[in-house]
Amino acid sequence: MLEIKNFSKSYGDKKVVDNLNLSVENGEIFGFIGHNGAGKTTTIKSIVGILDFEAGDILIDGKSIKNDEMACKRIMAYIPDNPDIYESLTGIRYLNFIGDIYKVDARLRETLIRQYADAFELTANLGDVIASYSHGMKQKLMIISALIHQPKLLILDEPFVGLDPKAAHILKQLMRELCDQGGSIFFSTHVLEVVEKLCDHVAIIKNGSIITEGSIDQVMGDQSLEEVFLELTDHE
């Protein structure tokens, strides 16, 4: 579903991601972890087409993000780490905006909005302007907006920040359901316990390069992921 081949990205003279290679299979939840400034968000933004990159390619369902951007974006959804969304719109208007862009049928859209908004207990607030939402409410709205067009690939950058425990639990359930239906998830987080419980595969990035990658069992061995992470990022 997602293939990153020899991906490199620089800002001026500084190379922030160097020759990164990884792949995410259908039905897989892939955890992407690393220290602050390791290159996680840069990689994620390059996958979703926000950032251009000078080397390598990123294929989504076999299509290149460079050459077939629209086709890639149509099957993917992105939730950034900061819920910066249009504060002058009401919640429902924002969801309809996303629904129109992805050409989601009105009836299906209504059903899914109702389903996800009820799950996240946000239905009563959909008529309010987003400026009145708390950080967590904005995060929930963004999650709903990502799910209503039923993406094949979900890209999440620290999705659990700001979510209350119930919402975090619901999100984990939804992530699992999406993958059980054949979709894939690629997400970054600093909450390693979530990675341990949720992810099928994990990669650790340090200073722009992958230092380890594999199934969660392979990477962890008989240690906790935190111990592995600290060992690898301290000693490499």
């Binding site: 969304i85 249009y86 129109d100």
Partner: protein, 528 residues
């Protein structure tokens, strides 16, 4: 005390220098500084020209009226400029939470905000007031006291403008916070306020202009507008008492406002920062629309949600329509004026109308800041499956929506008033459309080349950004050049031919802009 000074310095620095400092390119910084210098020199020249014209029109003691009139004009413009930004700076600043959590007294916080805002007003006062003070002194041979008094007036005259605009922002904020679409309500109220200010100053100027007894007018200004009336009197007559009384009329309200506002700062901010919450919301039936429509409606809602954006760009169309309707109702007096003009000029009325339309249209550009206004939300349209052309089209469509209906309606009204023939009417209608398209596409090109995403307040982008200045001043220069050429060629070719040439010119410009957007604009957007 050092906290207070640091606060003032920090907030002033942010307000004054952020619009130039942001660009990393040294070339663009130098270009920006050059452009700013050019703008200051031009505005000083225009203000000086106006003052000299007034001084030459009056003789002897009547020349005092020139200084009173310029001081009044300066005050009115300072009030309008302050009204645009005051609300955001006092009640909408993003640093409120941070500053209120620190050991800074409310009085110090309020005073620092007002003083930093005042410093921005000095930039406007520089070219509104300073030339008038200096030129009057030169024309009439004034003493050192006059010039020192002038410095004092320069420093204190913006104060009542700041206080009045702050009070009005408070009222607007309080009223609009009761409504769901509070930005729309506050935009409307702000527009009413600006119209009232201009209407009021127009009435005063009319009274001044038609007055027989100049001394009576001066005495009335001293009595009813003491905050500058008494200071000017003191400066001219060398009366320290009058000058100090005038000074107090400026300073005391400012001090009282700081004290009043500081006591209620927390409660006022809590009230104004709150949003309308809908009770018992129920999910209604959803309608699907096209992606272009979704983008366009997003642009429309974004536009009307930002007061400063609306104020800065909708004024042209409002003036166009307002002036046309006013002209229609003042037909008789207007026709009387027209009959006194040379027939060669009245025969070119459609060209004169065209020049006016062009000027007002090019000054009303929404696209010169529309990409910058995406700000931290840019990731949304960049990550969605939308072609860049659609994004551009939605932004241009918004500008056309603001301009074309108002411009075309104005043309229809003016065509009725001046009995234009059908060919002139059609060419003027077409001119509205092609000029509007050029304005919108040129503004977009400028913003692509001079984007700004790190803003905190929309004012920075809409009024103070390089893209906005280049677009507006570029438009002014273009309409100035067209006016100059028109004056040279007017009378030497048929009116219809000239109107056709104007249309073709703007069609050509529009096509060039379109080609640029397709060839280079899309790539530039992807690099953002």
């Amino acid at each position: 005390m050092s906290n207070f000074i640091n606060l003032v310095k920090l907030q002033t620095r942010n307000l004054l220098f952020s619009s130039i400092r942001h660009t990393r390119s040294k070339g663009k910084q130098a270009a920006g500084m050059g452009f700013l210098a050019f703008m200051v020199v031009t505005l000083l020249a225009v203000s000086s020209f106006y003052s000299i014209t007034l001084l030459n029109a009056l003789q002897g003691e009547e020349r005092q009226l020139a200084l009173y009139t310029m001081a009044l004009a300066a005050f009115v413009l300072l009030l309008v400029f302050a009204a645009y930004n005051c609300g955001n700076h006092l009640f909408g600043s993003k640093d409120y939470d941070l500053l209120r959590s620190m050991p800074i007294s409310k009085t110090a916080l309020v005073a620092s905000k007002l003083l930093s805002f005042l410093s921005l007003q000095y930039f406007y006062a520089l070219f509104l007031l300073l030339p008038a003070i200096l030129l009057y002194g030169l024309f009439t041979g004034q003493s050192l006291f006059y010039y020192l008094g002038g410095v004092g007036m320069f420093l204190v005259l913006p104060m009542p403008a700041v206080v009045l605009s702050a009070l009005f922002s408070l009222v607007i904020g309080y009223v609009s916070s009761h409504f769901k679409y509070k930005n729309l309500v506050s935009n409307l109220l702000m527009m009413i306020f600006i119209v009232l200010v201009f209407f009021g100053s127009f009435m005063i100027q009319t009274l001044v202009g038609s007055a027989v007894d100049v001394q009576e007018v001066i005495r009335n200004m001293q009595l009813y507008l003491p905050f500058f009336g008494l200071m000017v009197k003191g400066m001219i007559e060398g009366s320290l008492l009058s000058y100090l009384l005038g000074l107090l009329c400026n300073v005391l309200p400012f001090v009282f406002f700081v004290v009043f506002f500081a006591k209620r700062f927390t409660s006022i901010n809590s009230r104004l920062r709150g949003s309308y919450r809908e009770k018992n919301y129920k999910l209604a039936k959803i309608k699907q629309s096209s992606s272009f429509n979704a983008l366009f409606m997003k642009e429309v809602r974004r536009y009307f949600a930002c007061g400063i954006y609306v104020m800065n760009t909708a004024f042209g169309p409002v003036i166009m329509l307002g002036a046309s309707i006013f002209a229609l109702f003042s037909k008789q007096s207007l026709m009387a004026i027209m009959n006194e003009l040379p027939p060669e000029l009245t025969a070119q009325i459609s060209v004169i109308l065209a020049l006016g339309l062009i000027f007002l249209i090019v000054m009303s550009c929404t696209t010169n800041s529309s990409i910058s206004l995406e700000g931290r939300h840019l990731w949304i349209i960049k990550s969605l499956p939308i072609r860049t052309e659609e994004i551009f089209a939605a932004k241009i469509a918004l500008n056309l929506m603001i301009l074309i209906p108002a411009a075309m309606l104005s043309v229809l009204l003016l065509a009725l008033l001046f009995s234009l023939n059908i060919a002139e009417l059609l060419l003027l209608l077409l001119l509205c459309a092609v000029t509007a398209f050029f304005t919108a596409s040129f503004g977009l090109i400028v913003n692509l080349n001079f984007p700004r995403f790190d803003w905190v307040s929309e004012t920075t982008v809409v009024k103070q950004s390089m893209a906005c200045m280049i677009s507006i001043f570029g438009g002014m220069i273009l309409s100035g050049i067209i006016a100059f050429i028109s004056i040279q060629v007017i009378g030497s070719m048929p009116v219809l031919v000239y109107l056709l040439i104007l249309n073709l010119f703007f069609i050509l410009l529009g096509v060039i802009c379109l080609i640029y957007l397709k060839k280079a604009g899309i790539a530039q957007f992807k690099q953002l």
